[in-house]
Subunit: 386 residues, 2 copies
């Protein structure tokens, strides 16, 4: 096991009816800015529950944070919150609303000339306004981690930063709020969570049995519970298990002391930035390609994954690795998530265009730093579908 | 899954050489009281590492906190810390030193007439002096939870309290500090951790696949790694895996949203209070008795435990349950931990004497409140060894 620091002070309030606890979680007298996305919370009753729970607080609202939250949108949020003298931010939504809100929280305490630099890590996050969350879409883990990712339309960039200052003070996870999600978002969330685990698991074996089994536990649960919610969106137990899986996938725990490889995320971000592909879907395209391309380097871990997660025991090493990749692809596709560039509406030239971004920067990805621009092209070629 | 709150702000610094980080973890200018036990830290080099890392701080020392920390001892610690105007406590040791230090931290902020009431929960813990920890004995999980248990020799009582105010601010977990532990303490720690998991797992099935697999992951790791450290005390990797298992066993995570049954602990505490049996060993006596006595009520979970932890798949329901209990006992005994009253030096009359304590209080234990004084006697009879 590698040395590690684990620190995660976010309070989780999990279960039915927990939105009613808001009044005890936010300091009385706070001036709150509610942040949300396209307004689905006003149709599914979540907004009403929040407003009821916040009786007596001064509230302003900032809606319209889009999927892949845009820098320009968040800047408007910063300005509004500063003008309103807001001292607590409450994000209601999924990872995009939360990430946008984390950036607003940090941006409110930063020099207004430094805002983009705060996203690109050229300037550190020194302070932030406290924030809480009512999660309505389990996927990104943002509800219990200190990270955000922000997109910039004009330059087609998607970048992120992290700081202990932007851990949510609390996150309310009521699985009932997820029952009205469109199937596409539910499926994307399951895939996103699955791949968060894979990127902290499918690297090299350095003797981390606790973390391995925690990771495998999340994968197995997503494989079991994912199909249940696709079939019956109102299955509370399955919704609850997926919601907790999703948080556990990226709250730092399964990643403590192990070797990471975030190459699928970094490559996937380019597909979102260039073609607007849903985040979870970019991962579903890239990960199987990374597994195939890195089948030697990741071989030992793919074999463990095959055995423990998919119960594959028979066959040669090569056959087992093939079957593990196949099962992974089949699982994503079974949820209705396409795993090719073509299937997600990206042109064939995406292969070279994305590859070029890594050639240019001379960036090396993967746990061995072995994935360069050429390798990115090879990975995407494997997943082109053309 | 049940509704739950999860909150754990303790920072973990895990790995070789992490004691050197102390100077960054404790606010500069703090007046620190170091607390420790019998002085083994002065023989194994841990004390020297701590002193070196704390150069520049004002330090006083309070040694002599015993196993099953005594109320009277801790009162001396409170007096010394108050007299020394201490504003940070640093516990160096295992669960006993930590529990004692947590009580000192809370006691320093309480009315001096209320100290025992603070232990018995008659008075709540409203405030505490901040504390940190250098853990040298993985077992109790106290390094990442808000609990303490204190004993009182004169009345042969062992009671506990909990409060978010007494979470350690940080805990340093350097597996190297555990290499010089006597085999008996190492084995006790493995058994203690194992049973912490069992008491949050072996109850009823309420559809908690994530927590189940996290629990099973800790059990499997202890089963694999325990024998390794008994054979080779200097096996860093095995020491590291046991240390992290032990923390994970009782930091709130595997217990979130599941049904608990702390009957083995509550019964075991009486054996420590009456006969001074090591805490881990009391659990090794009681748990197999609880499993046998509650084999019907816990049947579904024992079957899952048998299958997933011990790989037992063949046999009738009764045979599988028998075998699961047998394997559990064999595992404890293989580490040199006796699982009977006789083997741990308790007289036969312990059966009725402990039973009487529960008859008197009319206390009902177990997840169904089905374990009364009579049942406690039956459980201990099953484990008497006479």
């Amino acid at each position: 096991m590698n040395n590690f620091t684990f620190y995660n002070p976010t309070r989780i309030e999990f279960g039915k009816g927990t939105i009613a606890k808001l009044g005890k979680l936010i300091p009385s007298g706070s001036r709150i800015m509610l942040t949300y996305g396209g307004g689905s919370i006003k149709r599914n009753g979540v907004y009403d529950q929040v407003i009821k729970a916040l009786e007596g607080y001064e509230i302003i609202e900032f809606g319209g944070i889009e999927a892949n939250p845009q820098f320009e949108t968040c800047k408007l949020g910063i300005a509004l919150a500063l003008k309103g003298d807001v001292d607590f931010l409450l994000a209601i939504g999924g990872g995009s609303v939360l990430d946008g809100t984390k950036f607003i929280a940090a941006g409110m305490k930063a020099d207004s000339d430094d805002l983009w630099k705060l996203v690109t890590r050229e300037v550190p996050i020194k302070d932030a306004v406290p924030l809480g969350c009512v999660l309505t879409l389990p996927a990104t883990g943002s509800e219990m981690n200190p990270n955000f990712v922000i997109s910039r339309r004009e330059t087609k960039e998607k970048k992120g930063n992290a700081s202990p200052k932007i851990f949510p003070v609390f996150s309310i996870l009521d699985p009932e709020t997820t029952m009205s999600l469109p199937g596409r978002q539910t499926a994307n969330g399951v895939v996103d969570s699955f791949i968060h685990v894979m990127e902290q698991y499918l690297t090299v074996n350095i003797n981390t049995p606790i973390q391995d089994r925690q990771a495998e536990g999340v994968l197995l649960t997503l494989i079991e519970e994912g199909p249940k919610v696709m079939k019956n969106p109102n299955d509370y137990e399955a919704r609850a298990n997926i919601m907790w899986s999703s948080t556990m996938a990226l709250n730092g725990l399964i990643g403590a002391g192990v070797v990471h490889d975030w190459s699928s995320h970094v490559i996937g971000h380019q597909l979102t930035a260039l073609y607007g592909v849903d985040h979870g879907r970019t991962l579903a395209i890239v990960l199987p390609g990374v597994m195939e391309h890195q089948r030697e380097a990741k071989g030992e871990r793919i074999l463990q994954y095959a055995r423990r997660v998919w119960g594959i025991t028979a066959g040669t090493r090569e056959e087992i690795i093939n079957l593990a990749i196949e099962r992974t692809v089949e699982f994503f596709e079974s949820l209705g998530v396409s795993t090719t560039l073509k299937g997600n509406g990206c042109p064939e030239e995406a292969v070279s265009l994305v590859g070029k971004r890594f050639r240019g920067e001379g960036m090396k990805l993967g746990e061995h730093g072995a994935i360069d621009g050429k390798a990115v092209e090879e990975i995407l070629s494997l997943r082109s579908g053309y």
